[in-house]
Symmetry: C2
Subunit: 296 residues, 2 copies
């Protein structure tokens, strides 16, 4: 199947400026994202959240794309409505139905350049393998949705991924991360062009995908207030090995709390600002290797 | 004049968690901030902003303390009212009138540990000199208010300072900066105790104070949208020398914009998230040396 239309999304979260300013740039200079064999559209997903400088107005837009929510007429939050409009435009059967969606995010965690797969479809895996070939700093991540239905925006198309870059504070631009994100977008478009022409690039033999195996919350008291911070030795150490017995949190009085799980894990989304309210101090992952030649 | 009451403030900005969690800690363990010769109070200044995860509800509380605002019955914003209540409690003639206020802030700029003087009163300068003696990483800053009247919270008392730590994203805790901020608070209280006992600590001969001499905005188009980002070579380089002709901004298309002022300056508050809306990409300073022996 050829890709006829690609959708590049910024501002799914209103305080993640990298994607918002990239989409603005592409809308001013559309020739940058044009390729011969397919159309590229852009979308500022949650403009109202951007205008108030927040992640969202009523609820997290990137948790609103479950089919049951998209088809539930009773949901009235601003983001539930935005999700419906976006799906109607770009989802299956939409007037601008897209085959591939690339959703641009940023994080206060030190995730570097992460490609989060929308699914483990061979196309997504091959695309991710290509991006990590082009830039060896790229990490590839897969987080299975916690719910039976996929709530993420990048699930509305056949193929998709999220680009997650950091560490960067909410509400600011970092020129280096801006340029690196733009380079990834161009690499994706180049890959699609080659794919459509029946000549996808040769890939390295192996792709490492970090698989999310769970989340760990901050220690909290009975009223839900957090009782400890990310330990300084874990801060900014996303994707590094954490062994049982190694420090994970530090209480406000300076006591260490260690990781008590079984076996080595690789934490990510460590100290992401938006996840305090979601009960997530970090996600933990384990790497899994895929042989790219078996993906076709 | 002895200091009878000290006020420690957190949460003047609702998304700067360091001060908020420190004040929470001190309120749970008040013995930590008790000293023999004076009383210490704590204040969570803008709890409503904290609850919504924003800097402020209606307007920046730390720009609401001009005497003309405090005495203007027509101002009805949430923060204007909070300012009046705080001043009534802790300002001159208040039921808990404080002699010294310490306001705890954080910033997305790489300001390290900065003491911002509320005024150049010899007490404030000596206190800052002591703190930079105790921790050589401490920088001391003075920003004269742009308005004839001082709008900052730390101006409500005879003596005062703001502790500004970073770089840290809004909405998160950083254990290392939390502990360093707490150490500065303890050092301040220890200094006040020694001062009240007539035995203030010996100080080094010279104190360097960075004097704010102006602000520089992002390049913007006619509708006010920013057209460039902080240059990667300037990002996180607060307090480092910037020479005329050195890069300052990078446009979204990758063009460098250089600093065209006269003489070397030392930028601070580089890429502070809250200042995008204030038209400030950075403040520029020049260092000035004070002889501490002449301060008494």
């Amino acid at each position: 199947m050829n890709i006829k239309r690609t959708l590049i999304v910024g501002g799914t979260h209103g305080n993640e400026l990298t994607g918002i300013y990239l989409v603005n740039k592409f809308e001013c200079e559309p020739q940058l994202i044009q390729r011969e064999s397919f159309e590229t559209c852009t979308l500022l997903a949650n403009k109202k959240a951007y205008e108030i400088g927040k992640r969202y107005v009523d609820t997290d837009l990137n948790r609103c794309f479950q089919p049951s929510c998209l088809h539930n007429p009773k949901l009235s939050s601003y983001e539930a409505q935005r999700a419906k409009v976006i799906y109607l435009d770009f989802g299956t059967g939409g007037r601008l139905q897209a085959d591939l969606v690339v959703d641009l995010h940023s994080t206060t965690s030190n995730m570097g350049l992460t490609i989060i797969l929308a699914s483990k479809h061979p196309f997504n895996l091959q695309l991710a393998a290509y991006l990590s070939d082009v830039n060896p700093n790229v990490k590839v991540l897969y987080c299975a949705p916690k719910t039976p239905e996929n709530p993420y925006l990048d699930s509305i198309c056949e193929f998709g991924c999220t680009i997650e870059v950091g560490a960067i504070a909410q509400g600011i631009l970092d020129a280096h991360l801006f340029q690196q994100t733009e380079e990834l977008v161009h690499a994706i478009l180049d890959y699609v062009q080659a794919y459509n022409q029946g000549a996808p690039p040769q890939l390295k033999d192996t792709l490492t995908v970090y698989q999310s195996i769970g989340t760990i919350d901050y220690p909290r008291n009975e009223t839900g207030e957090i009782q400890a911070m990310i330990h300084p030795r874990l801060q900014f150490r996303d994707y590094e090995a954490l062994h049982p017995g190694e420090p994970m949190f530090l209480t406000f009085d300076g006591e260490e709390i260690v990781y008590e799980g079984e076996g080595i894990v690789y934490p990510i989304f460590i100290n992401e600002a938006a996840y305090y309210e979601k009960g997530v101090a970090m996600s933990i992952t384990r790497p899994e290797n895929f042989r790219t030649k078996q993906l076709t």
